[in-house]
Symmetry: C2
Subunit: 307 residues, 2 copies
């Protein structure tokens, strides 16, 4: 019997690290989640987990890491593979790829959490068969990743997307926004943190008839319309904690249709918007799936670290 | 002596068609511009021009076309290579690539005017050595093209970018915007047509101290900040008639710096913004250069029509 290949996937978040081993996200042999504490403690546990899995199941061929950011994705940069200027205490300049590579000496793929989720959804989820994919997470903050011609956008630094400026009618909504950089950018108006600051309770505690939702749908609609006009994605995948309020999808779809006003001539936007703006098919596993995809790609392309 | 290779480049605009033949934009052997009249008359003149050049200089190896749009860029689509739903009378569903291929039977590359300009600037202009490039034209309308990992974004349809929504302070500027689809989207507030509608004269007639310019810089600043956050380009190239007002560059750079508010950690944005937001190095020839690049790529990849 053919032995399965083994890849390691890590979704590195500001709250928790999820690690998994298997041939792909549907054939995992082990999985574990750790709280994000200090870098040395957290990465120590991650490494210990993967060693214990190797003892039981054999050598892991490659790793893929989807990380909270900002991260350095520039090949050849001295800080490639690091979490860089994060406000998360203690994690500035953490060489996450280097730590793992020193230990396991196999190819390691590395990208942002949201680019990773887009990669995972493209291979196994809502983005199958598509090359231009937008993935937005609406959680405590708002972040976005995208694939163009099947490849993640890196560019100058990687896109973050959450801080775009959108129309804000101060008469209708006098809330000044919660973003420490920009006040009423999209993240400052429509993120989980903004909802909490605006209404005094988390999104999960706001009933579906609450006036907050029409405002959130309007703001997210503005942001998504701008992303659509800029990237022309073939599918828009919306994940994250705030999007667990599933009634928000139809509100956003209606808003996007109204705002585009028949300008984008495509049946996906004009007739099939319920298949165009969608939740992640992999749910909370999109990032872990992205780690598997990054590991697969690292096997083909060689280690990202030494390219 | 080695004979030069010959490529044909076409920049297809709503007002004029520019055609050129040569090895590259710096070694052209012939060039001609025609007014855009009917499709059959205009394309007839284009074909006649290239035939006359071939008689004198020899066979053209491949063509590249950068076209006004919207165009169909989806390989395999029955209308690939066509100008599609353009408001320009008589030009709807014009199979521009098919017409040229039927006549010359060589590989033909095809893209939007703005993706073409980005490709031209990457090969010979302000985008050299960069893989993620944004090109925005601010003329009668506002349009944008972009390269990610060196490849143009196509996606669902191609991006247009000009119609993004931005903050608009109605108290400061009560102009409702000139866009027939969206009113006060970016194009509706900051395009040449908007300036004309707002101030009763074209951009070229507005002196540099006119209050119009601060508003235009603010609106373009909002748009460019949103593009930067979404695409993370390594360079932002601003062309088109309105950008001939060269004082506009520094106004826009200041606005972008202020709006980003140190959120994007890169020396390009924080220290070297005068080399980050720039005019096209090729000036009005960026599109023709893009046609040469598309022709070169078509030679390598084979005809776009039959891929």
């Amino acid at each position: 019997m053919k032995r399965d290949r083994l890849f390691g996937s890590i979704e590195a978040g500001g709250t928790k690290f999820t690690c998994a081993v298997g041939e792909d996200p549907f054939r995992m042999v082990a999985q574990k989640t750790f709280p994000t504490t200090t870098p040395s403690e957290t990465l120590g546990r991650v490494i210990e987990f993967f060693h214990s899995v190797e003892e039981e199941f054999g050598k892991i061929e490659a790793f893929g890491i989807c990380s909270f950011g900002p991260v350095d994705l520039r090949h050849g940069s001295p800080t490639y593979g690091c979490i860089t200027s994060t406000p998360k205490k203690g994690w500035e300049q953490t060489p996450i790829v280097q730590n793992l590579e020193a230990e396991f000496r196999v190819p390691i793929g590395f990208d942002t959490d949201v680019n990773g989720a887009a990669l995972g959804e493209r291979r196994w989820g809502a983005g199958q068969g598509k090359d231009t994919i937008l993935y937005i997470t609406v959680g405590t903050g708002i972040g976005g990743g995208a694939l163009v011609n099947g490849q993640p956008i890196h560019g100058l630094v990687h896109p973050e997307m959450g801080h775009v400026r959108i129309p804000h009618d101060h008469a209708k909504d006098p809330f000044p926004g919660s973003c420490p950089y920009h006040g009423d950018c999209l993240e400052g108006l429509a993120s989980g943190a903004a909802l909490n600051a605006r209404w005094g309770k988390p999104a999960s505690a706001l009933e579906s008839g609450h006036p907050a939702w029409d405002l959130v749908a309007e703001y997210l609609g503005f942001g998504i319309v701008n992303y659509i006009l800029t990237l022309s994605p073939e599918v828009v995948i919306l994940g994250g904690g705030v999007m667990k309020a599933s009634h928000l999808f139809n509100r956003i779809r209606r808003k996007v249709t109204t705002l585009l006003n028949q300008y984008v001539k495509s049946p996906m936007v004009e007739e099939k918007i319920e298949t165009y703006i969608v939740p992640p098919a992999l749910g909370d596993w999109a990032g872990i799936a992205g780690g598997f995809e990054l590991a697969l790609r690292a096997c083909t392309e060689g280690s990202n670290l030494h390219r």
